[in-house]
């Protein structure tokens, strides 16, 4: 619906011209409505961003400013104290960032590798029962892990995988696998048949063929990896249940310790810097790769 107004050069497609030129006196009203649109949209965007921005500013407040009542909107004495003293009973925040990163990276690698193999197998070498395997995977989407955590805890406890980052990674990976396999399988479906034929004529084996077609499935692989990263980095419920030792906590669970360990006198400055440390990697990765993230949602909504 881009119609040319005084605001900008003619960028319209020839087709929509007829509509925009229909009424000459309307041009003025259109400029006004365009301006209105910008004001409303900007206000909505500010509404959604302001909680993030105010916590970012809050994380730089000095201890006195952070406990001031009523609070100040900004900070006159910005300080890094909330970041430099962000530790839990002597353990530096770096330890917890490392825990989170370990779980997230391991989940991404494991999910992507398993999903690529499974998707390649399902789409390239269908076997009796491969349909059933696919249905089984989709049913894992229907049964949420939150409901299964009690028996899962018993099973993992039996094999010594509770209170372990490996156990946490295994659980998150399993529940990411169905979606990841689905997305990667869709990407493989776009690989032209001739490529497989050429590879076969050249005598390429299974692995060299996979290496040949994998770049073409890259969008699906990135989307699968991205969703796995967000799921692992942000997982709270599973980590809360499975992890017992504080030294193994991931970032979301450490925020709980910051609040509950304070016994009534929460250090709001510390909590806000903890929140920023937890969400910043997500925001950066999201802004850099948002196209792939949105494509995952589009794939899900079946368009």
């Amino acid at each position: 619906m881009t119609s040319d107004t005084a605001a900008g050069p003619a960028r319209t497609a020839p087709g929509s011209r007829t509509v925009s030129r229909r009424s000459r006196p309307g041009a003025y009203a259109r400029t006004a409505s365009r301006g209105c649109w910008y004001v409303v949209s900007a206000m909505v965007a500010v509404l959604f961003l302001s909680p993030l921005v105010s916590v970012l500013i809050g994380s730089f407040k000095s201890p006195r400013e952070a406990s001031q009542s009523p609070p100040a909107y900004g900070t006159i004495h910005p300080s890094l104290r909330n970041y430099s003293s962000l530790r839990i009973e002597g353990t530096s925040i770096v330890q917890f960032i490392a825990n989170s990163a370990e779980v997230a990276v391991a989940t991404v690698v494991l999910t992507v590798v398993l999903a690529v193999l499974a998707a390649y197998g399902l789409s390239r070498y269908p076997f009796p029962g491969s349909g059933a395997v696919f249905v089984l995977m989709l049913s894992a989407i229907m049964v949420p892990f939150q409901v299964l955590l009690t028996p899962l805890y018993v099973v993992l406890n039996h094999v010594g995988l509770t209170n372990s980052l490996v156990g946490l990674t295994v659980v998150i990976t399993t529940f990411q696998l169905p979606f990841a396999t689905f997305v990667v399988r869709n990407s493989f479906a776009g690989v032209p048949r001739e490529l497989y034929e050429a590879a076969a004529v050249d005598g390429a084996g299974l692995w060299s063929t996979l290496r040949l077609v994998l770049p073409l499935a890259r969008p699906g692989v990135i989307t699968a990896g991205l969703f796995a990263f967000f799921a692992a980095w942000n997982e709270f419920f599973t980590a809360l249940i499975l992890l017992g030792d504080e030294s193994k906590f991931t970032l979301p669970v450490i925020l709980t310790t910051l609040v509950n360990g304070a016994r009534g006198s929460i250090d709001w400055g510390l909590l806000q810097s903890g929140v920023i440390v937890t969400i910043l990697p997500c925001l950066i990765i999201f802004v850099a790769l948002q196209k792939h993230y949105v494509r995952g949602l589009t794939a899900g909504s079946g368009r």
Binding site: G121, T174, I241, S301
Partner: protein, 313 residues
């Protein structure tokens, strides 16, 4: 199920298969099974096994520590007469019934506002979608800091714009506590709902909109009787995803309200967590889980059934 059906003819398959078999001699089916087996192993061990195991545990008195013994259907008998579980299920349904239409309407409004390509529109979309990328736990802690009655900026803002006369103590009254969780959830998921509904809006050919405009059809009527029916796939996806997410809510209530005030905001998953890991009754918690899972599958099944019927029409 195979991509061969979609992209290539049967004629292309035969020589290809023969060529492959000549190189290594392994049947295709076995290759497929081998490639799928690592993922399958994870699904079997971490999804199917616990699913079956849940039923077995639910038939036992199974404490977190110590010996367990078989008790038959005793846990299910208790489940049917447990007011706490009944309350948790009802409250969860109440939350889903509130949050789903709110997120749909907010998402539809945002999608309508930002659906057309214009200079700067990407920036606005990114801003609204940013909260989707952060976790529910960190989002809840973020809002916990913002809504503290004495040091929270959100409370000061409400006073400064004269919406309230003094700082609101959100967690004191059930209604306000629930409202706070609704605000946080809408803030966090509105971008998701916007994007998935925008998919639907953008799949409608522009000629239809132009034709309707020439005919003098009003905007609301255009939306209601032409656009919404045409985007029912993306509406179905949005509603299913949002409502299932709402049924499984835990983080926001655990972090913000801690189930209070007076245990009025304990969801089903929260009740399962308390039963299993605070009270240490794994057997009973599994019975609650199985009961809740049956309800969930009935709801999901009903949604899929309704969607498929509309699909066929």
């Amino acid at each position: 199920m195979s991509t061969g059906l979609a992209t290539g003819g049967a004629s292309a398959r035969t020589p290809l298969r023969r060529a492959r078999r000549r190189t290594t001699g392994m049947p295709d089916g076995l290759r497929g099974l081998l490639l799928v087996s690592p993922a399958l192993l994870f699904i079997l061990a971490v999804f199917v096994l616990p699913l079956v195991f849940a039923v077995w545990i639910s038939l036992s008195d199974w404490p977190l520590l110590g010996a367990h013994h078989f008790t038959g259907l005793a846990n299910y008998h208790r489940l049917l007469h447990d007011p706490l579980v009944g309350h948790a299920f009802l409250f969860t349904a109440e939350f889903a019934v509130v949050i789903t239409p709110v997120l749909f309407l907010v998402g539809l409004g945002l999608a309508t506002l930002l659906q057309h390509p214009r200079r700067g529109v990407g920036l606005f979309r990114t801003a609204i979608f940013a909260p989707v990328a952060i976790g529910f736990a960190s989002a809840s802690y973020l809002w916990l800091a913002l809504t503290d009655p004495s040091t929270g900026l959100f409370d000061r803002l409400l006073v400064d714009v004269h919406l309230t006369t003094q700082a609101v103590n959100w967690l004191d009254r059930p209604l306000l506590a629930k409202l706070l969780v609704v605000i946080v959830t809408v803030w966090k998921l509105a971008g998701f709902s916007m994007i998935t509904l925008m998919n639907g809006l953008q799949s409608i050919p522009t000629e239809i909109e132009e034709a309707a405009r020439v005919d003098g059809t009003g905007r609301l009527r255009l939306l209601w009787s032409i656009k919404l029916p045409m985007m029912r796939d993306s509406i179905g996806f949005t509603l299913t995803f949002v409502s299932i997410g709402a049924f499984l809510t835990f983080d926001q209530f655990y972090i913000l309200t801690e189930g209070g005030p007076t245990n009025s905001t304990i969801t089903a998953v929260y009740r399962i967590y308390n039963t299993a890991f605070i009270q240490g009754q794994l057997g009973y918690a599994s019975a609650v889980s199985v009961g809740f899972l049956v309800l969930l599958l009935l709801i999901t099944g009903a949604q899929l059934f309704l969607l498929r019927r509309r699909y066929d029409q």
